[in-house]
Symmetry: C2
Subunit: 211 residues, 2 copies
């Protein structure tokens, strides 16, 4: 079984890369699907689950609390329960045994024993702001500065969650097999390039050649 | 013209990757060749030039000196003169107009206007120590701990030199197009994978196909 995990800076195009990569490779794709499963199993609203996991996981857990208490205490917060549930869902995806691409959610760490091909996706701040502006819905009124603040806040949350889940530094290149900077790429052209690289790493040619 | 630059952690296999990449792509290869040109033009011993640039560039420049004085003062040290000479040599390589791979020496920053494909090569510390031990000459008597200290010291020098030359953070993924972790690779297999990726970035198929 081949697993590709995509960790990414907000606005870097990592989600689109993951989706296109799954298409090119003919792999299953998991991202929001994981949120749906959790919200169903926990009887919670999808939006709530997503926000608790992605954007607000740390706002209600004071720094001193996280650093001074052991795991049991930390895990009493609802967000941490959701993280544990998410871990179970991700493990069950791997156990199903099908080739897949998983975006975000620390799948790279959770599935370490499956030896996933771990991609980290980054981009220059200007490129990330531009991407966020382009994909904003009509009528979105965030300023450039607000978008940058959002990017920094979300990535800070991701870094903190990664630290809790793995003890590793989020985005540190040695924790991934490959880090790509999307600044100069169209994601459409990048996907087959990453796919080729991943298949070389898995040690075999893809059955659906990407060239 | 296509330029590939390789920046690398000491012991990560970056030099071997650069060499093999040049072979696979049919590009010229520059590494120690740059040292030879500098030593000839300056009438200095090659070993001295190499050490001054690679290993000891900062030992004789006190921290306070570097931070408190302007560029003119900093550049009065012999090592900085060598850095400037190195810059000239690297620029002349680019001006010659031939496709090439350049290892180290901040060529990625110096040749920014040529839009090089910038690779950063890293590996887990254990893998780097192992590589250093394997390539040590017979009779080398460094302990594991000494090797690790060497790796950290050399990389610290590289980071400082990069900071001076570019104002950028050495090894920060956003400053490169691609960062590869060699921990799980044989460099021999990695080189064609990086070559393919680079050629996709350059937007064309290589004339010497690598597959």
């Amino acid at each position: 079984m081949k697993i590709v995990t995509i960790s990414r800076e907000f606005g870097s195009g990592g989600r689109e890369l993951g989706k296109r990569l799954a298409d090119v490779l003919g792999f299953d794709y998991y991202d929001k699907e994981i949120i749906s499963v959790i919200s169903q199993s926990q009887g919670l609203n999808e939006d709530y689950v997503e926000k608790a996991l992605d954007n607000h996981a740390w706002q209600t857990v004071p720094i001193t609390f996280r650093h001074s208490f052991g795991a049991a205490a930390v895990m009493s917060t609802p967000q941490i329960s959701l993280l544990l549930e998410q871990k179970k869902v991700i493990e069950s995806i791997a156990k199903a045994g099908k080739d897949c691409v998983i975006v975000g959610r620390n799948a790279d760490v959770i599935l370490k024993n499956y030896e996933p091909f771990r991609v980290f996706v980054c981009a220059e701040m200007e490129a990330k702001i531009k991407r966020c502006m382009e994909r904003a819905e009509n009528g979105a009124t965030l300023t450039r500065r607000q978008i940058e603040q959002n990017i920094r806040r979300i990535d800070k949350n991701r870094a903190r969650t990664c630290e809790l889940v793995s003890g590793e530094i989020w985005g540190s290149p040695v924790n991934y097999d490959m880090t790509v900077n999307t600044t100069e790429w169209e994601i459409k052209s990048l996907a087959p390039a990453v796919a080729e690289f991943a298949m070389r790493r898995f040690g075999g040619k893809n059955e659906n050649p990407v060239i």
